[in-house]
Structure formats: C-alpha cells, structure tokens
Symmetry: C2
Subunit: 448 residues, 2 copies
C-alpha cells in the first residue's frame, strides 16, 4: 500500500505516524512545502513574547525522527501543486525549482490553512507580517528584534490577533487593533466582550473597531495603516483577519468542497474521491449541535482527524462525531472560553434560542482571591436543549467550558445540565458552579 | 400551610428561602440547635489558616436577614428531639432548657451530619477538637490562639483531615496524621495517592497509616495519641474520621433509613412518611452511575435538595437525578479531583472495570510553567461505559473533572467521551486534554 500525504503538520504527521505504527509495511510519503514539520503553531504568540526562546522550541518532533525512527518518507521543501485523481498521482515543485511527481494508492490531503491577507495596496510591504507557519513566526520574531519595533498595528481582533496583541505588549510594543465591524469578537455576548475590551485597554492597547482598512502606506521606513477616517502609524503591521482552508488544489482536481470552502469530508474523513481523504484545517466537519457541516479549524480536530484517517487506511474503520466549536484563549489576565453555537447562529438553524448572562465568582463566599466569572448561556426553547456557553474570567474558565462541551456532545437539555453534580471546594468556586447558576437562570427564562 | 424545618444550614435555609420566595403566604418555621445558620462549613479550614480573619466571615446570611427580610420564623438554640409523625408535630428543648413543641402540615428534616468521634478513652479531653459546625471552628480557632498550639495530631486522612492539615501547617503548627488502614484516601489510585502523600511530606507533615488509635492520654497538659506500636505527642488532637448522618430522630420516629444509615429519600426527596421530606447531609441519594442508593454528604447536593424540597412543597414537582460522586479538594499546591465510582466499587456493582493511570501535562508542549497532571480513569468492559475519573496535579484538575461528571450523568461510553471536542490553548493544556489521553489509553486497554 502506497500512501501519499500532502502537508506535514498536525493532521499530516499524526496520520503518517499512526499509519506506520499500525502497518509498518505501508509506504508512507509526506510532502511538506516548508522545512518545518510537526510544530505547535498555537504556541507561537507565547514564544514570540519571550525574546529568550528560540522559535524552534515549538517543534514537537524533528523531521529526522520521523524519517529515521518511524520510517516515514518525509520530503520537506516539496510543494504539491496538482492532484490527478484519475491517474492517482500528485505533482509539484521543490523549493529549489525541481519538478516531482508521485503515484499513490491512497492520498491524504492535510494542507492546513493560510492567513487571509486582503488584496489591498501595501499589504506586500516589508514589515507587514502575517502569522501562520513556523517560518512566519521566525520572520516576525527576527523582525521585532532587528528593527527595534516600538509600535504595531494588528488588523483583526480574532484569537490570533488577541494572543499576538498580548505577546507584543509583553515585548514592550504599543499595539493598536483595528477592524471593520463594531465590537470585538463577533460571536461574543456584549457584556463579556466589553470585559475583554477593558482588559486590552487597561494594558495600554488602542482598539479601533468600525474602521475598514483601505491600504498600507510607507514613508521613510514607517508604515501607516489607512482607513477612511483614521490613520495608524506602525513599525510593523500584523494582518490577523482569520484563516482560510488550503483547499485550492483539491478544488482544482474536482474534489467537492464544503463548509467555508474547505474540503468536504464525511464522518470517516473521506472526500468525494474514494481514494482521497482530507484531515485538519483544510477539511470541514459536522457540528454536534446543528448536525450540519461547519468549518472550525482548530488543533485538536486536526490531530484527531489525522488519527482517524490513519485508522481508516489501516482497515480499522474510524468515524468521528464532529466538533462542538469549543475554544479557549488567554488575553492578558483573562481566560475566554466558548463552546456550541450562539444566538444568531441558532436562529438561522431554526432553534428558538433564549440566552442569559450571569455574574458569579471564581471562589467560594469569603474565600480570598476570588474574582468575577461571567457566563453567557443559550438554550433552545423548543426542545429544551443546551446550545452554547461562553465564559470570561480571571481564573476557572478554560477548563470549566469542557463540561458544557461534553453536554453538547450528549445533546443534553439545559435542565439535565443544571442537575449535574459538579465539583465544589472553596478555592475553586462557589457551591453552585457559575455554569449551574447560568443554567438555573436560563431555565427560568426559558419557562417564562 | 405550616411548614417546619429541622436544621438551619445549607439544605434547611435553602428550602426555607425558596419556599418563602415562591409562596410568601406559607408559614415557615426553622429550628436550629446552634446559634449559627447559613454558613460555609467547607470554608472553615481556610478561615482557620488565617488568624486575621473572624470565623463569622463564613456566615453567608445572618439570622436577622432571614427573619426580617424573608419572613422566616427562624428559632436558633432550639434542638428538636422528637418527631411525632402520627400527631404531625415535633418537640425539643432550647439551649436555656425550655421545652417546646410545634405542629406541622409538612416537615423537612435537614439535620446534616456530625463528626465521627470514636468511643475510646480520652476523646473527651480538653484539646481534642472535632470540626463540623461553625461553633467547632470557633472553638478550634480560639484554642490554637489561646494555647499557642505547636504540634497537632489529625486522626484520619479524608478531605477534612487533609484540608485542616494544610490550615494548621499554614499556622506554623507541626502536623502528624494517623489512621488505621494503609494508604491515604482509600478510593484513590496508588500512583495518585503517592503524589498526595509526597506533597504532605514535603510540607513537613508526618504520615502514619496502618496504626489504629487506642486512646488519648494526657500528662501535664500535653496530649498523647496512643496506638499499639506508636505514640504521638500533641498540643491538640483533631478527630477527622469522617461524618455520619444525623438521622437519629428520624429513625426513632419510624422513618425508613437508607444508604449509610441516612434518611432514605426518593428522587423527590420524600421520606417513607408522606408529610416528611429530608434534604442535605442527613439524607441519602441515588448514584447516577450505579442507579442505586448512596450516601455522599456534600454541599452542592445539600443546597440542591433544599431547593427541590421547596419546589415540591410549593406544588412544583421537582425530581433530582442523584449524585455522580464528584469532589475536589486542595492539598497545599495540589488539586485533587474525582467523580464516579472506582474499580473496587465497580466490581461489587457487577461491572467489569478496566482502569488506566496516565501522566500528562498542565500546559502545552514547550509552554513555560507546565506541571504534571495524572489521570486515573475507569471504564466498564461489558457496556463500554465510563465509570469514574480521578485526577491530581498542581493546576487544571479542579474544573477539568466536571467534564467527566457531565459524561457520567449522560451515561457516556469511554469511546464517546474520548471523541469530545474539548478546549485547547497552550497556557491551559496539551492539544489532547489529559482526560482524552486517558480515555484513548483506556479504550485500547478495554479492547485488549
């Protein structure tokens, strides 16, 4: 069996490793366009925050280990440009300009995603640095050091933008954040969103929402981000406007695309071609709340789908149930967590969403060091089902959200969730966990 | 409607408050034997640790507020001694020696639990101080201050013993802990248990397990805890051998007792008498894993069952599903959490338990500040169900356990739990949450 994998990060290398563990006799070839494989992309903001750490600390496993210890034929600097499904072969070009091609029995597309960089004037200037690959991180880190960056503009206010904002502030850089729509994170409840905005502002970050960027100008080495009614000077500009799936070569080969223009896969990670699987950020998934296709590119899904593809290729059929949309990130001293769908999305899906926002504490009554936890919870009035939860606080949000995520997988009602026997001890929360308080309040509102 | 409630702590006052909120016209009388109502008993160790805080900080709501703002007839210093179910009345004696009696239409027993103090010589000596009520805490705290306690012996190694151990060490007191059986917590996996023991020892605590205490002697004001082959000197001795339900007056009145000799209640908190409910630590409950009766006295259950009794008395039938056995506590820098049933109990219940113990990290690869998290997970080979989880680590255990607790409520399989979309960001865990790693390993072992 000859298996070709396009892409050598989380999904691709997870698949390659598991295939070789299960079926050492299979020939596994991985083509990776960069020189970096198997690294923690999510760790980049934290690495960039610390000038004393090398970006290579984020490499989880060296290319040589995959080659020598696991027997994976791993070819870096190999960009695959074309898939020929009828001829069952791929072709491409190396970083030194040589053409290559390779036949396969089964193909795994694990091409990941790319930063969205808009087609506007000036986004190709020196000092405009998007962050996606380890090499992006390498360039960004060396740019900060070599150019003595003092002020930066981040375009976008998503997870990566917010994490990079904290990283740059840690480096003593003044950060301005700008984006076209009002508010911070579009899915976030207003009260919670304001708390995150306050946290940013209290760390000296300037927020400009409601300003569409038109172009980036440069004068005497200084960049200016130009909006209609606003201009922001910067030594460095970070476009953090989200990512898009690298599904181009799949689409060109006639493979069906799905949610968010990602490669459409079923629960077994099969594409529309019987000999081609897709895994990781380039592929879509099912949402456990709606049952419909969605595209939520996150690390756990990438690793998990890589493993599932490996099982399927090794003759151990493995179906994965989809995603709940669970995510967490840190912004300075705040933990921000979410799972499920929010009111706007719920309405579109035909639910009758009801939401509450409650305020609770991170520790018990009279326990020192307690801080505010805010929970926003949404349920469906028609079915009684729990639909989604968001949480913001200084402690105790990151792992708490997992209880709600499990409840979504189990398609639990708000009632059942409110009855859960959750842990209590004074250093860790009130007797009624903040999520239970939210569920109790939501039940009342749903009954009203 | 005339409702009498025996006991003015978590369950009793939760019930009283909710009844008056829903049906202000109901006459609600609460008899409390002590002078303290509605306080955070679980907060006592943390309060005792800090000589600068008054024990009264733990009072959540003053008696006067219940009386004046909520219209509850709250009688403190009133010990109920007898229930007459056929005459529908209770009787007792006040702290000043006066007899009282009171008729009821419906009665709620919320008498809580008491510390187990063995019937052995010397347990009545001055300086032998069990901790259960706020008044116990008051006495203990004042004893430490007035007697200049330098060394203490704690008999027992349960939650309260461990929390009090930390509190006393914080006060600069040397602590020895002693108990008859080997090991630390009997339900805990050996690897995890050893980690907790190491944490205690590294804070200067002396552990003596496998030594049954025979008596407490006193010579010139110094106490000696005497075992067969061991004697421990102390200025203060804390019996922390667990608690038992205060179900005596219920039993005397012919009300059926259930698990752990607690008052037997159904899912509506009804006792064997149609006009008597029981709630809180004095009553038993159903275990969501076994479906059978159990007695696990914890604060959330007490509050929740108080509310449910109120709803039932107010004509809004409220059934509560039982407990998962979720608990968490802190021992110095460790978080110790559990939910569900463990291998020994599972065997008794007819499951075919399989367990794994795994080691993971509290933060992502290469993220600074990461520490070890150990997870012990048990599943049923016959049904595939998740049965229980234990976790020990320096961070990230207390709230993580809730995801497993929700999974137990949903009667999830280990397979389904392993497929959950849990949160990931580098400061909060590895891509594969420690619980998912445990579930993945357990699945392999269950299949083997």
């Amino acid at each position: 069996m000859k298996i070709v994998i396009i892409g050598g990060d989380a999904a691709g290398m997870s698949a390659a490793s598991k295939i070789k563990r299960t079926r050492p006799e299979f020939e596994v070839t991985v083509f990776e366009k960069s020189e970096d494989v198997s690294y923690s992309a999510c760790g980049m903001p934290y690495n960039i925050a610390d000038p004393g750490r090398k970006i290579e600390d984020l490499v989880v496993r060296e290319a040589t280990a995959f080659r020598e210890k696991q027997g994976i034929r791993l070819l870096t600097g190999h960009r695959v440009e074309q898939i020929d499904p009828s001829g069952k072969r791929i072709s491409g070009v190396t970083s030194t300009g040589d053409r290559f091609e390779e036949p396969y029995d089964n193909l795994v597309i694990a091409t990941g995603g790319s930063s969205i960089v808009p087609d506007l004037p000036g986004f190709d200037r020196k000092g405009v640095l998007a962050l996606k690959s380890l090499d992006d991180g390498r360039k960004l880190k060396s740019y900060i050091a070599s150019q003595g960056v003092r002020k930066a503009v981040i375009i976008g206010m998503g997870y990566i933008g917010l994490e990079m904002c904290e990283a740059l502030v840690e480096r003593g850089i003044h950060v301005s954040m700008v984006k076209p729509n009002l508010g911070l994170l579009p899915w976030m409840d207003e009260t919670l969103s304001k708390e995150v905005a306050n946290e940013l502002v209290s760390h000296g970050v300037s927020l400009y929402s409601g300003h569409a960027v038109r172009r980036i100008e440069e004068r005497e080495g200084e960049l200016t981000v130009v909006c209609d009614d606003l201009s922001l000077d910067a030594d460095m500009v970070l476009p953090a406007m989200g990512i898009r799936p690298n599904s181009g070569i799949a689409g060109d080969a006639g493979i069906a695309l799905g949610a968010g223009s990602a490669i459409s896969v079923d629960r077994f990670l099969r594409t529309s071609d019987p000999h081609i699987y897709a895994a990781g950020d380039c592929a879509d998934s099912y949402h456990v709340v709606t049952g419909k296709k969605t595209w939520i590119p996150l690390a756990l899904r990438a690793n998990r789908s890589g493993w599932a593809v490996a099982d399927n290729l090794c003759g151990e059929p493995s179906e994965i149930p989809g995603v709940a949309g669970t995510a967490v990130f840190k912004v300075f001293h705040l933990e921000v967590a979410r799972t499920g769908i929010m009111e706007k999305e719920a309405l579109k899906e035909g639910f009758e969403p009801v939401s509450v926002t409650i305020e609770s504490r991170s520790r018990a009554h009279a326990h020192p060091g307690s801080s505010v936890i805010r929970v926003h919870m949404t349920g469906d009035k028609l079915s009684g089902r729990l639909l989604g939860v968001q949480m913001v606080g200084r402690e105790g949000c990151a792992h708490r959200i997992n209880a709600a995520a499990v409840a979504l997988h189990a398609k639990m009602s708000v009632q059942s969730f409110s009855e859960a026997d959750l842990a209590y001890a004074p250093p860790f929360g009130p007797v009624w966990d903040p999520m239970l308080t939210a569920a109790n309040q939501l039940l009342k509102k749903m009954a009203g």
